[in-house]
């Protein structure tokens, strides 16, 4: 699973709540009149009204917060009409159908939103409405059980076509329904009560956990499909989904791209947190020290989560605690620059070792919530007492989503090979007769072997150890040899030198740029604002009238990146990350920027890091 997305979703959605314009006023009916009196037909209106009546109930019931969750959700700076979203998706056959047929784009469009934000919309649906749908269904089922023939024949299926009818029916049955709600609630509370009581505020996270586990399959979809956040920084602190959208544009739905080093660290910490009983090499700071880590890379939160889990895994809190104290871990290992530098190490922890973690998680969290919460609630409570509420909730949220993604991943969603005429190639039967391969297009030979001109031994030579330069290995020496080799190649290749674009390779490309242009280009790149950079690549001509995209790309790889790399070679020879995008993140933290802008911008002064290392 994408690591970072699971991490960011929870908090960002929560912060969504915080960002909301206003809270839904209790259980009252209808949103503001302006939504309703727009000449909508009566049926729609009542549906909407009903929707906004039931939804808070559901939230109240399932999220069991003190008050209902805020209803106004902002996506891309606009208010999202949950009812409209709900009905649009229903019209298209429900969440699964919409995802399968890739209709999220059209749903988003119909909502009047920018298409690019379809993934947050999908997320909102999955996080809130999908479960709401199930909840409604459940209520209906219960009603049928309880009331037998109610006069209305509620189908067990919640068909999209039935929605209006059911909503209308719901409306006229409303008072009764509410009573049923209460019944339902009290009934479900039997299961949850003890947990609730014991956990107080923390309980809601556990309940969330349970709810979300119900729909784990769907959530898995979202997470797998579209919530990668490839941007690397907690610093972005996604306050609204809108803000996230800019980044999401880059996020692959099918996620071939991977988390960066930072998220690698995050997931490593999650791993640590989730396997409280796995011994570590360095001591974990004692609980009393935890607050020192507050705000630092969420380390503290992970520690707490780990602590809680460890308590839970042991039915007796004390043994959990003691085992915790034996564990070892060195906090310095998680600091940013270490993680970035030790890219590979970070990644090694990214990928979850599945079977074990899933099991340990599901038995420690899911079961207590749904079945035997009372036995373990106490231990959880103990853990909770030690942790400030908000922190725990966030951490648990993260872990929950993670765990769900895993558990649903391999068990439920084994991807199958698609079969059918739209997938397989048409292969002619083998007749035993060789059918002629079209010989017209075989490529154009642009380089042929010239035998006898070159002694064999000269082929595949490496760098010469010795040369006749006065200062071997000096900048001038290296530059001389690069130039020599270039001229040699140019003579050998003739016109191919140009066809293959060798004339446009290397830092010589910068000769075609004026100093002013170069500065402009670098300024844009260094701004490190993803949206700005993206805009730049798509609209480069607006910045540089006489340059095509090809020129820009060429400059980027042949001059800009090489200079950046030269700097890195000099400044952090042990920590070079070839991933240019991470480099930006790295540099944007202030460290090194001054050096890059150094006097005269003359990078050629130090074009080879070896000697620099020697000097140092």
């Amino acid at each position: 699973m994408e690591q970072w997305s699971t991490f960011s979703n929870g908090p960002s959605l929560d912060s969504l709540g915080v960002e909301t314009v206003g809270e839904f006023p209790g259980n009252g009916c209808c949103l503001g009149e302006d939504h309703v009196d727009n000449g909508a037909q009566h049926g729609k209106l009542t549906q909407k009204c009903l929707f906004y009546q039931l939804f808070p109930l559901y939230l109240k019931d399932n999220c069991s917060q003190a008050g209902p969750r805020p209803l106004l959700v902002l996506v891309d700076g606009q208010q999202l009409d949950l009812y409209k979203l709900f009905s649009l998706v229903k019209d298209r056959g429900g969440y699964a159908e919409v995802s399968k047929n890739r209709l999220w784009g059209s749903v988003t469009k119909e909502l009047g939103l920018n298409l690019e934000v379809y993934s947050p919309v999908k997320l909102v649906y999955a996080k809130y409405l999908n479960d709401f749908e199930r909840w409604l269904k459940k209520i209906f089922e219960e009603k049928i059980l309880k009331n037998g023939n109610h006069g209305c024949d509620w189908g067990l299926k919640w068909l999209p076509l039935d929605i209006e009818k059911e909503f209308r029916g719901l409306l006229c049955l409303n008072p009764k329904n509410k009573a049923d709600d209460e019944l339902f609630k009290s009934k479900s509370n039997k299961k949850k009560k003890k947990t609730d009581l014991a956990n107080h505020k923390n309980g809601n996270n556990l309940l969330d956990t349970k709810d979300q586990n119900n729909k784990s399959e769907d959530v898995q979809h979202i997470e797998g499909d579209n919530n990668e956040k490839s941007c690397n920084g907690i610093k972005d602190n996604p306050a609204t989904l809108g803000a996230e959208c800019a980044d999401k544009e880059y996020s692959p739905r099918k996620r071939k791209r991977k988390r960066d080093a930072f998220s690698g660290m995050i997931s490593w910490m999650k791993d640590i947190a989730k396997h409280p009983l796995v011994p570590l090499t360095q001591p974990i700071p004692k609980p009393s020290k935890w607050k020192e880590y507050k705000g630092r890379d969420f380390f503290g939160q992970f520690l707490k989560a780990r602590h809680i889990l460890s308590l839970r895994t042991h039915e007796e809190p004390n043994s959990g605690l003691s085992s915790l104290q034996k564990q070892k871990m060195h906090p310095a290992m998680y600091e940013d620059h270490v993680a970035l530098g030790r890219h590979a190490t970070g990644k090694s922890r990214c990928n979850e070792r599945l079977p074990f973690s899933v099991k340990s998680w599901s038995c420690s969290i899911c079961n207590p919530c749904s079945h035997n919460g009372n036995t373990l609630a106490g231990s959880h409570n103990k853990g909770a007492e030690k942790c400030p509420h908000e922190k725990t909730s966030e951490t648990v949220d993260v872990l929950t989503e993670k765990a769900m993604a895993e558990s649903s991943g391999d068990e439920f969603l084994e991807k199958q090979v698609s079969v059918g005429p739209r997938f397989q190639a048409e292969i002619p039967e083998w007749t035993g007769v060789v059918s002629e391969s079209d010989s017209k297009w075989l490529g154009t030979r642009v380089w042929s072997l010239k035998h006898g001109t070159e002694p064999e031994t000269d082929i595949g030579r490496g760098r010469q150890e010795k040369c006749s330069c006065e200062h071997q290995g000096s900048v001038a020496c290296v530059r001389l040899h690069i130039a020599e080799n270039r001229v040699k190649l140019k003579l050998e290749l003739g016109s191919e030198f140009y066809h293959w674009g060798f004339d446009g390779m290397g830092e010589e490309v910068s000769l075609q740029w004026t100093t002013k242009e170069e500065k402009r280009f670098k300024d844009i790149m260094r701004s490190n604002v993803p949206s700005k950079i993206k805009y730049f690549w798509n609209n480069g001509f607006k910045y540089f009238a006489n340059k095509t995209r090809r020129h820009l790309v060429s400059y980027y790889f042949n001059v800009f990146l090489i200079q950046l790399r030269t700097y890195q070679n000099r400044a952090t020879p042990k920590n070079i990350d070839s991933d240019d995008e991470v480099e930006f993140g790295y540099l944007s933290k202030g460290f090194g920027m001054e050096a890059i802008k150094g006097p005269g911008d003359d990078f050629l002064e130090c074009s080879k890091s070896e000697q620099c290392i020697n000097f140092e």
Partner: protein, 429 residues
């Protein structure tokens, strides 16, 4: 020592100048770097280099649906907002963005692989290399995982015109799902993919249980691996399985996808392979002396991609390259060591011996099933390497053959004996 094989290497200078967009891990510029490094090591003096033709839409439609090809042809970054439904339908936009010259890019890399296959078919070369190709995720009707056109399928279809059976081997860290899917029902292509599987790793397919269906049952082989596999266990498994596959299946030609994202330190990968381990697989496949089409594939740490494919070009040319990279315009990308070797991966190897042996046993068991049910004429068409196929009359008259090439062909007659010997010496551990 001069290589006894005739190598055709395909490159077009335009292929590296496209850009997928900021923060996109796929950087075609790696192809420029590879080509530059190959030439820095003077490897061009041992092979012929071709500029591929740009594959025509109708050629691409040999596999892909015509509507998809047509759409790829038509779409540009400026017009894409008008085709939102189609973009979704064809899975374009996120992993597979629409960028300037997208279609030309596809035409070049697909043209390279198709030309390579045709040159092999016409026995104009023994090994064809197209590092720009190998985009194994692309599906018949949609793009996937940075791949738009599946050049491998097109190349294999081309080889199938000449060969009864073609073997496809994939050592990219990702499952070669596009190729497997395309040939899932046929026994004329056997696909063998070694890849990371599990933990929601892209693309999600590639379980050992996927073995093909209908006539293709048992003709798809998947070797699912976990994080951190190292040279020794990988090459051992690779050699065991591939040698058994070749022995059983007797392919007429081999297509080898050399995705470099299985190397240690790849931005998207999670294996621990060194370039030596990776290229050992290439060298092993070469020793079968079958017509061989070698393509690139994934690879997202671009210096390492350049290193790896340069070394493998050397391997195919029987040229061992010195570790010190010669001075060239891109030398700074290879800092701080300026060497071909890359640091060892530090990822914990989660592939236990017992896990690997379970996989191996399962694969070999499936292979046994085809031994006893040869649905294709296993013996009627002898593999190419038994055919003395140097009849000049069959040559395409358009193709000018210089004296040197002719000389080489004549030399080859006696070299086949050596080649057979090579087979015996294969290290099957």
């Amino acid at each position: 020592m001069r290589s006894k094989d005739r190598i055709a290497y395909f490159y077009d200078g335009d292929v590296g100048s496209v850009y997928f967009g900021a923060k996109h891990p796929m950087k075609p510029h790696r192809l420029c770097m590879t080509h530059h490094l190959v030439l820095s090591y003077d490897l061009h003096k041992k092979m012929e280099i071709y500029r591929p033709h740009k594959a025509y839409p109708v050629e691409l439609a040999q596999f892909h649906s015509a509507d998809y090809v047509e759409f790829l042809h038509r779409i540009t970054p400026d017009t894409q907002h008008l085709f939102l439904n189609e973009l979704t339908k064809y899975n374009l936009g996120e992993d597979c963005p629409v960028f300037d010259n997208l279609f030309e890019f596809c035409q070049i890399y697909a043209g390279g692989t198709i030309d390579a296959a045709r040159r092999l078919n016409n026995q104009l070369c023994d090994i064809a290399i197209n590092w720009a190709g190998g985009l194994h995720h692309a599906k018949k009707c949609e793009a996937s995982g940075f791949c738009y056109i599946n050049d491998l399928v097109l190349g294999i279809l081309e080889l199938l015109k000449y060969h009864a059976r073609v073997l496809y081997i994939d050592i990219d860290v990702h499952h070669g799902d596009g190729v497997e899917e395309a040939f899932y029902f046929t026994d004329r292509v056997m696909t063998v993919s070694f890849h990371k599987y599990g933990d929601q790793f892209f693309p999600g397919t590639g379980d050992a249980k996927e073995i093909g269906e209908r006539e293709g049952k048992f003709y798809a082989i998947n070797v699912p691996l976990k994080d951190g596999i190292d040279d020794l266990s990988f090459t051992r498994l690779f050699k065991t399985i591939v040698s058994k596959v070749v022995e059983t299946y007797q392919p007429g030609a081999i297509v080898l996808q050399c995705g470099a994202d299985s190397l240690a330190g790849d931005r998207l990968g999670c294996f621990n392979l060194s370039i030596d381990g990776h290229s050992e697989c290439v060298s092993f496949v070469k020793r079968f002396n079958l017509p061989l089409l070698v393509t690139g594939g994934g690879g997202y740490t671009k210096e390492n991609v350049a290193r790896c494919w340069t070394v493998e070009t050397g391997v195919l040319l029987d040229t061992e390259l010195p570790n010190e990279i010669p001075e060239n315009d891109y030398i700074k990308y290879f800092a701080p060591e300026f060497s071909l070797k890359i640091p060892n991966g530090q990822i914990e190897n989660l592939n236990s011996k017992s896990y690997l042996s379970t996989i191996k046993i399962q694969v070999l068991e499936n292979l046994r099933c085809i031994q006893h049910a040869p649905s294709v004429q296993m013996q009627e068409v002898p593999p190419d390497f038994y055919i003395p196929d140097f009849d000049e009359d069959e040559q395409n008259p358009d193709e000018r053959i210089d004296q040197h090439t002719q000389d080489k062909r004549i030399q080859r007659d006696d070299e086949y004996y050596e080649a057979d010997n090579d087979n015996d010496q294969m290290d099957v551990s």
